[in-house]
Subunit: 207 residues, 2 copies
């Protein structure tokens, strides 16, 4: 089974890259679909599921438990318990979706969660200047953030991704050695890189 | 001009990847050719040029000079002076060769030396297990190194690459952010990755 996972810095274009890569390879892309599937499976509203997914996982994860999920059921504040239950539900959904066949999974430490399927794991990064420009180009009308506010938001989100990964594995987030391919998108249009990337992925899987 | 530079961990297959990529793109590959050109230009024997190229640059570079080459001519031990003169000669040759047109340059911090030409800079890495296996598969008949000796050699050579880079730039050797693409070759045959990589390089240069 050819599973491609995409981790990315906020603003690097990794989400767009995942969608376009899945189109180029003609396989499904699971991104927000994961949240929707968790919501549907557990009878949650999509807004609540999205809110749970965006929480800073480290802040609510009791460090006394250790670095893995084992034994997470007992003696916890209800809010902590909910968040961990959500994370576990999300992992189950990722495994279910990936079990259906070849796909691209964006974010959520899918490379770690699906490691037994030997996914091709990508990390997407870019210069701060380029990430800022990408954020600006996608800002909704009426949004008035300063560059500083966007940089702070980037750092916060990247830090949360790193923290979630830290709970699951010893392979650090954003470190070359944790991935099979690391792509710099600085100053590049994602859509122009995708045909070459799709060709590389096919070579990786020996097609 | 489309210049591709390849930095690599010892044993990752970066040198083979450079040669095969240049063949796939139908452009010259400069690797040992750089040493030969320095030898020819400065009337040195090839063996002596190869020896100078392999010296630990950090050990002979006087730290009092600072992090750049400016002012390297004066008050030095002749051996130090020779090594720096060789490094400068090597840089000049790399610039001359790259000036001829599209090419692949392997090693020698060519991405830094040619930064004004906006090269596509690649870094090739692999797991230690995979690098060891690659080293063994290429060992000459009669060579009797232990795994420990090979690992020590890998570390020494990678350290020397990092040290040479440190003299030239603030962008660290082997750090994702110093390169445009970082490729994990663990357990892979280089020749099978090259067609996809060539396709990606063409996309990068907008072809």
């Amino acid at each position: 089974m050819n599973i491609i996972t995409i981790s990315r810095e906020f603003g690097s274009g990794g989400r767009e890259l995942g969608k376009r890569l899945s189109d180029a390879l003609n396989v499904p892309c699971y991104d927000d679909e994961i949240i929707e599937a968790v919501a549907e499976k557990h009878g949650l509203s999509k807004d609540y599921a999205a809110h749970m997914s965006e929480k800073d996982f480290r802040a609510i994860y009791p460090t006394t438990i250790g670095r893995r999920f084992s034994g997470f059921r007992y003696h916890m504040h209800p809010a902590t318990n909910q968040s961990i239950q959500f994370a576990v539900a999300q992992q189950e959904v990722i495994r279910e979706l990936a079990g259906r066949g070849d796909c691209v999974v964006v974010g959520r430490c899918a490379d770690v969660i699906l490691s037994d399927l030997n996914p091709f794991s990508l990390f997407v990064y870019a210069s701060q200047e380029s990430k800022l420009a990408r954020c600006w180009s996608r800002a909704k009308e009426g949004e008035h953030y300063t560059d500083r506010e966007i940089v702070q938001m980037m750092r916060r989100i990247d830090k949360e991704c790193a923290a979630y990964r830290e709970v699951l594995t010893d392979n650090d987030w954003g470190h070359m050695r944790s991935y099979n391919l690391c792509i710099d998108t600085s100053g590049k249009e994602i859509k122009k890189l995708v045909p070459g990337l799709a060709a590389y992925v096919k070579c990786w899987f020996g097609e």
